[in-house]
């Protein structure tokens, strides 16, 4: 620990903030009875007692022990760590948006409502869907919401026997978890030798007990599922629905839409594709877009444009209900809207084209030093396998990742998807220039070269950080989860 806990910097009586004195009439304040003893708190809570400068230095120092897109390249596969425009940050801090209460009369929130309404229209166009909701607060929350609607749809039709969700084995862990939370049973679909959905396996598992097939396209190997139209047809022929996980939408903006591919329900991750910051783990936003059949089941309230302006409509009878406290993560929605306004339709298309260009370029330049199991032609990301390095030199994907940290790069996603052993999943995004990619490639190659010559050195990385690799077993055996 380079920076002590703030609680350990405390000194009794020190203050970082002073409230103005209570300015009620003295007589009233003195006569005001306290809370009844029976419901009064007794325990004190231990919070820091420090000066304002102590707070400022503490969190500033902590921020120097963190790495964001603003610090350097962040090729964390499937997370789309692209540049987060400063304009979006600036606009998201405007009083006209931050100081608006969610329960103000709608006549006083027409600005915010118009942004939400128009964002939804744009997202409909981008996904090729017709309707949607902005209420879900993260990608996994979008999955939860979308699957809940699928469930409600089949119950309404009396098809209560549809209890299964089919999910490719390479899918994100949230997919099966979201299905489970909604009471579905999960069946895994195998991949074929091209890393795509195995149609025979799919056919074998499709029957009238399947509610939906959840897919990411391109998939987590960065490969476009070329049979997608056939798959949609097969799934629809069995009366089931097609669910699109938008985690990899950054590969196809303006080039193709989930709607045209035959998907019935789509969630997007605004914090990936639409350049809103990840905030050290959130908040994100996971809008869900649907076709006509699922529209009646959208969460309430729905934003509608009427003669008297934008309104929140609560009338929908078949709605699954609310999925979050208010209307969604408005400040995240606002940032995404600003990004779309800046980029426009051609700009978004160009973003995807350059994301794919960057990924293919890096893949090509690494192909002679490491295995890329499903080929170098990829979409916005690709997965390498370091299995050979493990067998020959005892070097694991994790070791290469840690060595990258010493060179100032955030490592790629490790050990995912599980069908590739010693996997590193690399997603450069369109934000990185040729020079940055070149520098990354040279560093990556030098680490692999060093792995052969001096594997012990690589296994000991990182060397430049405040701490080395932490003992994860100790963290569980002797839990220390709070001060």
């Amino acid at each position: 620990m380079r920076e002590p806990l703030l609680i350990d910097q405390s000194k009794q009586g020190r203050k970082a903030y002073c409230y103005p004195p209570l300015d009620l009439p003295k007589g009233f304040s003195q006569a005001l009875p306290p809370l009844p003893k029976s419901i009064q708190r007794e325990q004190l809570a231990r919070l820091p007692e420090v000066s304002e400068l102590d707070v400022v230095r503490h969190f500033t120092r902590l921020s120097t022990m963190a790495h964001g897109v603003d610090n350097g390249m962040y090729p964390l596969g499937s997370c789309t760590m692209k540049y987060n425009p400063k304009l979006s940050e600036h606009i998201a801090k405007m009083d006209a948006f931050t100081k608006i209460h969610p329960l103000q009369d709608v006549s006083t929130t027409q600005g915010s409502l118009s942004i939400m309404f128009n964002l939804l229209e744009d997202l409909s166009s981008i996904t090729g869907m017709k309707w949607g909701t902005l209420q879900p607060l993260a990608g996994a929350h979008g999955e939860y919401t979308g699957l809940k609607m699928v469930k409600a749809y089949f119950e309404k039709r009396g098809e209560t026997g549809r209890t299964k969700i089919l999910i490719p084995s390479s899918a994100h862990g949230t997919n099966p978890a979201s299905a489970m939370v909604n009471g579905f049973e999960v069946l895994s679909i195998e991949a074929n030798e091209k890393g795509q959905v195995d149609l025979d396996d799919l056919e074998a598992k499709l029957d009238d007990s399947v509610a939906a097939v959840m897919m990411t396209n391109p998939n987590t190997l960065g490969i476009f599922e070329q049979d997608i139209l056939i798959i949609s047809k097969m799934v629809h022929a069995h009366g089931a629905m097609m669910y699109y996980d938008g985690a990899n939408m950054n590969a196809i903006l303006g080039m193709a839409t989930p709607g045209e591919m035959g998907f019935d329900v789509v969630h997007l991750n605004l914090h990936k594709t639409f350049a809103t910051p990840h905030g050290g783990g959130g908040p994100g936003s996971g809008p869900v877009m649907v076709n006509d059949a699922l529209r009646p089941f959208l969460p309430k309230p729905d934003i509608q444009l009427t003669d008297s302006g934008y309104v929140l409509d609560w009338e929908s009878e078949d709605s699954i209900g609310k999925v979050s406290m208010f209307w969604g993560n408005f400040l995240v929605l606002l940032r995404a809207y600003v990004y779309i306004l800046r980029m426009g339709s051609e700009g978004l298309r160009s973003a995807s084209a350059h994301a794919v260009l960057n990924a293919n370029y890096v893949a090509k330049r690494l192909a002679d030093v490491c295995e890329i199991p499903y080929g170098t032609q990829c979409m916005h990301e690709f997965v390498i396998s370091l299995e050979e390095y493990r067998q020959k030199y005892g070097i694991r994907a994790q070791d290469v990742a840690k060595a990258l940290i010493d060179k100032g790069y955030h490592p790629p996603t490790m050990y995912f998807p599980s069908l590739v052993s010693e996997a590193l999943m690399i997603e450069p995004t369109e934000s990185e220039s040729l020079e940055t990619l070149e520098a990354f490639i040279l560093v990556f190659r030098s680490i692999l070269a060093q792995a052969k010559e001096d594997p012990e050195y690589v296994k000991g990385a990182p060397y430049s950080t405040p701490v080395g690799r932490l003992d994860e077993v100790k963290a569980i055996k002797e839990p220390n989860l709070r001060y």
């Binding site: 708190r41 099966p176 591919m261 050290g280 908040p283 779309i340 350059h354 794919v356």
Partner: protein, 451 residues
């Protein structure tokens, strides 16, 4: 053509395409068949410059009208020290993702560890997670935790005095899953826990209650945990965490799970989001906790540091057997709360809570003198109270008259419940931020309408 945020020059593209053996950008998408590739661009507007976007947003922003908010119901206008925005805007906090790589993320991890600690301190619980989406989703996570903690139990008892939106989110959660919510009725504005023994059976996994409740009233949970524990059921208490500077904490009531939303601790109104859900539990429930968890450990040289831990509970490891599907949480909002609490200290938190209490009671006391509106239940409240009007016309006139003075007078309960019986109830929230002048302005306008 140059597009924003894409650094490539024509020469770059040429070099890169050549390196991968392609002759055009279009060929990058050769894996997509003709039937899938869009022939036209998607029908959204063309790109704009920074200045054009700013002007457009400025014009839209004018259609938002601000007033002096006496609005609450889960979202409150408290004083926030300037440290919160300044420090939570530091780029390496804002533009990082989940701290999977501990060595390079010690700052983020330590901030989360401090957040977890503060949540534990305030709720008097043992372990807190790194945050959840919001207060309503913290309730669904609590319900899931209860159901998974007791074998064959599928019923969750829910107080009918919890926030109407939280109840709606819970109803959505239960829908289509075979789990049921069983409502505990209210009496005189608070949950009627004398009904508990008759509602509680072997199918019940636990009880969720809320204080301050949907009317702003404070509830007592004396002896409730014991009754539930006899049936192996759990108690979850949802709070506005700032109120815990005054009222008994979940730990003091013997609760197993503490939930809520830290919006009142350093977060802006922001039209309702992002806010920040939290959950803290008794140690025995550690492995049932949803979401991320940061712990302290040490490296080979004995240096102490922080890392994500107990990850075997989570979706990226356990997939369909995880405790929850949550992946992204509300980390940056949790950081804002951590900075807020670091600035306030416990004394500051108590001061904010006490002043909110005093100011709310000042306004309530004087409004109660006026004809046509009453404070119906003689129950303790903290910073929000229910005014019941004698007729709907007067209520509308009251709200309009105050609006003309630039005051948002309160939230009609029926806006949340969509029920006719709630149309006469106005919920008024008063925080420490409301000045004496603002309180007097409210009272003067109220006296004009309700004479």
């Amino acid at each position: 053509m140059i597009y924003p945020y894409i650094p490539h020059t024509d020469e770059d593209r040429k070099i890169m395409l050549e390196a991968i053996g392609l002759s055009s950008m279009e060929e990058l998408f050769s894996g997509l068949s003709e039937d899938i590739l869009l022939s036209d661009s998607v029908p959204i507007s063309q790109g704009r410059t920074e200045d054009e976007v700013q002007r457009m947003i400025d014009s839209i922003a004018q259609r938002n009208v601000r007033g002096i908010p006496f609005l609450g119901c889960g979202c409150y206008d408290h004083i926030v020290p300037s440290t919160v925005e300044a420090l939570s805007s530091l780029p390496s906090f804002v533009t990082a993702y989940t701290p999977y790589q501990a060595e390079m993320s010690q700052g983020l991890l330590q901030a989360i560890y401090e957040f977890q600690s503060m949540v534990c301190e305030i709720t008097s619980m043992d372990v807190a997670n790194a945050s959840l989406y919001d207060g309503a989703n913290a309730a669904t996570e609590a319900a899931s935790l209860m159901v998974s903690a007791k074998r064959h139990a599928s019923v969750v008892l829910v107080s009918s005095t919890i926030h109407p939106f939280t109840l709606q989110v819970l109803q959505t959660w239960a829908k289509g899953t075979g789990r049921t919510l069983r409502l505990v009725a209210e009496k005189d504005g608070v949950v009627d826990l004398s009904l508990l023994p008759s509602l509680l059976d072997v199918d019940c996994a636990g009880l969720i209650v809320q204080s301050p409740n949907r009317y702003g009233l404070l509830e007592s949970y004396e002896g409730v945990a014991e009754i539930l524990h006899e049936q192996k059921a759990l108690l979850a208490i949802s709070n506005d965490p700032l109120s815990l500077a005054m009222q008994k904490s979940p730990g003091e009531w013997g609760a197993d799970v503490a939930i809520g939303d830290t919006q009142s601790l350093g977060l802006p109104l922001a039209y309702g989001g992002p806010s920040c859900g939290y959950m803290a539990v008794k140690e025995a429930l550690l492995r049932k906790l949803p979401g991320r968890l940061v712990g302290m450990s040490e490296d080979a040289k004995g240096r102490k540091g922080f890392t994500l831990t107990f990850q075997a509970r989570e979706q990226h490891i356990k997939r369909e057997r995880a405790t929850s599907n949550i992946c992204s949480n509300h980390a940056l909002a949790a950081l804002m709360t951590t900075i807020h609490l670091s600035s306030l200290g416990w004394d500051g938190m108590v001061e904010a809570a006490n002043q909110s209490y005093a100011k709310a009671h000042y306004l309530a006391y004087h409004l109660a003198q006026l004809p046509g509106m009453t404070l119906v239940w003689d129950k303790p409240f903290w910073c929000e109270f229910p005014l019941v009007f004698s007729d709907p016309k007067r209520l509308r006139k009251f709200m309009q008259e105050l609006r003309n003075e630039g005051i948002f007078a309160g939230v009609r309960l029926s806006t949340l419940t969509r029920q006719v019986k709630d149309e006469l109830v106005l919920l008024v929230a008063v925080t420490e931020k409301r000045s004496r002048e603002e309180l007097e302005l409210y009272l003067a306008a109220a006296r004009r309408v309700m004479k």
